[in-house]
C-alpha cells in the first residue's frame, strides 16, 4: 500500500484532535476522510503531508511505501497538497504557479526550460485551462482556481495527492461538476488520492473507500455502499443522510418499536427489557398505506408534502413521535393520492437498532 498510518495521536494543548488512529491507504485508490468539523480529518491529512507533527508515542508510524516519514520534512515527502482556499500564489501567473514546484528544485534536478514548459502545457490541458497560462489567479473563477491548484500539486508528480476540502468554498453546481471531474482525473492519472470533506454526498459519490471520522477517532472504514447500508455505529448512520430515530425496546434479541408497545400495553414492561434502544430508519425505508398492514404499523397523519424532487417527501405526525420523514417513490405517492390531513399507517421495511452500551 502507499500510505500506512499506525497508532497516530495528536493533541493541541488540552484538545485531542486524533486518538490512536490506524489507517491503510492502498495505492491507486481515492479515499475520503469524512466527518464533521473538529473530527480530526484535516489534522490527519496535515500529518500525512507533514505540516503537523503527531504526538510522539511509541509505535506510532507513518509509512510511505514502507518508508517511515514521521521525521521527514514536508518538501521531501513528495505529496501534492490542495488547500480549501486554493493558496495560489497571487502575484504569479497560472503558468508560474504550476511551474513553481519544478523551478525551485536544486539546479542539478531542475528540468530544462523546455521541459518545464511542456509539462505545464500538458497540465493546463489536463485541467482544461489551455490558454489561461498568462492569467493571474484573481482573473479566474473559484472552480478554475482550484483546478490550477490541483495542477500545481500534480506538477511535482506526487506520490500521494492530498485534498483538504477542495470544493468547500465553491457553490453547489460547480462543486458537483468538479467532483465528477476529479474522479475521472484520478482514474486517468492513476494516483493515490486522499480527500477531506464534510459533505457526505461528495464522499459517497467519488470515493473508493470512505473513512468516517468523529471526535478524533475513525468510526468506520468501508466502501460507500458499506458505510451507507451497513453503518456500524449510530454516528455513521446519523451522519450519512437523513434518518428517523425511534425509541424502542429490545427483547430476546428482537426489537419492538413504538406501535407494537402501544398495542401490547402494560404487561410487556419487563425488567430485562432495554427500554432505551434507538431504532434508526431512513426515510426511504418506510412503507405508507391507508390500511393497517401489521402489528408493527403505527397510525399517523400527513402533515406536509413536498413534491420538488425525484421522490415525494412526506412528513407525518404521530401521537408519539413529533415527525416522521418518509420518502415515497412518485408512483406510490400518486397511487395513494395523499393530501395533508389524511390518516395513514406507516411501517419500516428496514431498521437498524443500536442499544446503548451499559458497560460504560
Amino acid at each position: 500500500m502507499s500510505v500506512e498510518i499506525k497508532n497516530i495521536s495528536k493533541s493541541f494543548g488540552s484538545f485531542t484532535a486524533l486518538k490512536d488512529v490506524n489507517l491503510r491507504i492502498e495505492t491507486g485508490e481515492l479515499i475520503s476522510l469524512l466527518g464533521p468539523s473538529g473530527s480530526g480529518k484535516t489534522t490527519l491529512l496535515r500529518i500525512i503531508a507533514g505540516m503537523d507533527i503527531p504526538d510522539s508515542n511509541p509505535g506510532s508510524q507513518i509509512l510511505f511505501f514502507d518508508e517511515d516519514v514521521v521525521s521527514m520534512p514536508v518538501g521531501k515527502r513528495h505529496v501534492g497538497f490542495v488547500f480549501q482556499h486554493y493558496a495560489l500564489f497571487k502575484h504569479m501567473t497560472v503558468f508560474d504557479n504550476i511551474a513553481f514546484g519544478l523551478r525551485v528544485r536544486p539546479r542539478d534536478k531542475r528540468p530544462s526550460k523546455k521541459e518545464i514548459q511542456d509539462r505545464v502545457r500538458e497540465l493546463l490541458r489536463l485541467i482544461q485551462l489551455e490558454g489561461f497560462g498568462d492569467r493571474f489567479p484573481t482573473q479566474l473563477s473559484g472552480g478554475q482556481r482550484q483546478r490550477v491548484a490541483l495542477a500545481r500539486a500534480l506538477a511535482i508528480e506526487p506520490r500521494v495527492l492530498l485534498l483538504d476540502e477542495p470544493f468547500g468554498a465553491l457553490d453547489a453546481k460547480v462543486r458537483q461538476s468538479l467532483r465528477q471531474w476529479l474522479r475521472r482525473l484520478h482514474d486517468e492519472l492513476n494516483t493515490t488520492t486522499v480527500l477531506v470533506t464534510h459533505d457526505q454526498e461528495e464522499a459517497l459519490e467519488v470515493s473508493d473507500r470512505v473513512v468516517v471520522m468523529n471526535q478524533a477517532k475513525i468510526e468506520q472504514v468501508g466502501s460507500p455502499e458499506q458505510v451507507f447500508h451497513n453503518p456500524t455505529s449510530e454516528f455513521v448512520i446519523d451522519f450519512l443522510g437523513n434518518v428517523n430515530v425511534f425509541r424502542g425496546r429490545v427483547q430476546d434479541g428482537k426489537a419492538t418499536w413504538g406501535a407494537a408497545r402501544e398495542e401490547r400495553g402494560e404487561e410487556s414492561r419487563g425488567a430485562d427489557a432495554s427500554d432505551s434502544a434507538k431504532i434508526y430508519v431512513r426515510p426511504h425505508e418506510l412503507a405508507v398505506d391507508r390500511n393497517k398492514l401489521s402489528d408493527e404499523s403505527i397510525a399517523a397523519r400527513v402533515q406536509r408534502i413536498n413534491l420538488a424532487g425525484a421522490q415525494a417527501k412526506v412528513i407525518l405526525s404521530t401521537a408519539q413521535y413529533e415527525e416522521i420523514r418518509v420518502d415515497l417513490p412518485m408512483e406510490r405517492f400518486q397511487h395513494l393520492r395523499l393530501v395533508p390531513g389524511d390518516a395513514v399507517f406507516v411501517q419500516p421495511t428496514n431498521t437498524r437498532i443500536f442499544v446503548p452500551d451499559y458497560s460504560i
Partner: protein, 289 residues
Amino acid sequence: MDREQENREGLNMDSSKTKLYSQDPWWVRWLLIGVTISFLTFLLLLPLIVIFQEALAKGIAFYIRSLSDRNAWSAVKMTLLTAGVAVPLNLVFGVAAAWATTKYQFRGKSILITIIDLPFAISPIVAGLMLVLVFGSQGWWGEWLSDRGIQVIFGVPGVILATVFVTFPFVARELIPLMQEQGSDEEWAAISLGANGWQTFWKVTLPNIKWALLYGVLLCNARAMGEFGAVSIVSSNIRGRTNTLPLQIDALYSEYQSAAAFALASVLAGLGVLTLIGKTILERRMKST
C-alpha cells in the same frame, strides 16, 4: 482588462455606498464639513504653508545660502547616515519579528507583540534617558565602552541608537497584522512543492507583503529623519559633529536665525509631504490587493 473592470466596479460600489450614507440634512452636512475644513486648515495646513513662507522670508538667495551652509550639510549627512542605519536594521527586525509571531504558535507570543509595540508608548525624552542610563558615563556599560575609546552618548552611535529605539516598531507593526490575516497556506503550498525556506520567503511571502513593507519603511524613515527628542538627549549639541537636521533646526531657531531654521525645516517638511503622498499611494495599493 478584467482587473481594470474590477477596479471600476469597486469604485462604483464605493460611491453608491456614499450615497446611501449621505442622508444627513444639508445644514448638518455643511456644518460638519465647515468644522472639518477650518479645524484642519488652522491646525495642520497653515503650519505647513508657513514653513515655506518663512523659509523664503529673506529671499531665494538667502534660502540657498542657508541650505549650502557647512553645518547644514553635515546635518544632512548625519541625518542620512542615521536613517541609513536605523531603517535597514528595523526593516530586517520587522520582517523577522513578523515571521516569528505570525507563522508559529508559542507561549508568550502576545507578550512579545506587546513588547515590540512598546517604543510607541515611551516618550522620546525617556527613551534618550534610558540610553544614557546604559551607555552614559555613569551608566552600565559607559565606562567599559569609553575605556575602549567608544563614545556612545554624545557621539554618533548614540544618535543612531536613539533613532533605532524610537523607530523600532514601525515595520513590524505594519507586517504583523497583515501576515496574520494572510495565514500560512501559501507558504505551506510552496514548501510542499519542494521549495526551501529562503525560496519560500523570497518568492512567496515577500511579494505578498511588499506594499505593507514599503509602507512601514516609509513611516520608519520619516520618523528616523525627523526624530528630535531622543536624539537631543544623546547628542553633544556640538555643531557639525552629531547634529541631525532637527537638532540643527533647533540650534538655529534658538539663536534667532529663524529664516535659516525654516530653510532647513522646509527640507524636512518637503520630505514629510513626500511621505504623505507615498503613504496615500501605498494605502490605495494595499486596499486594491
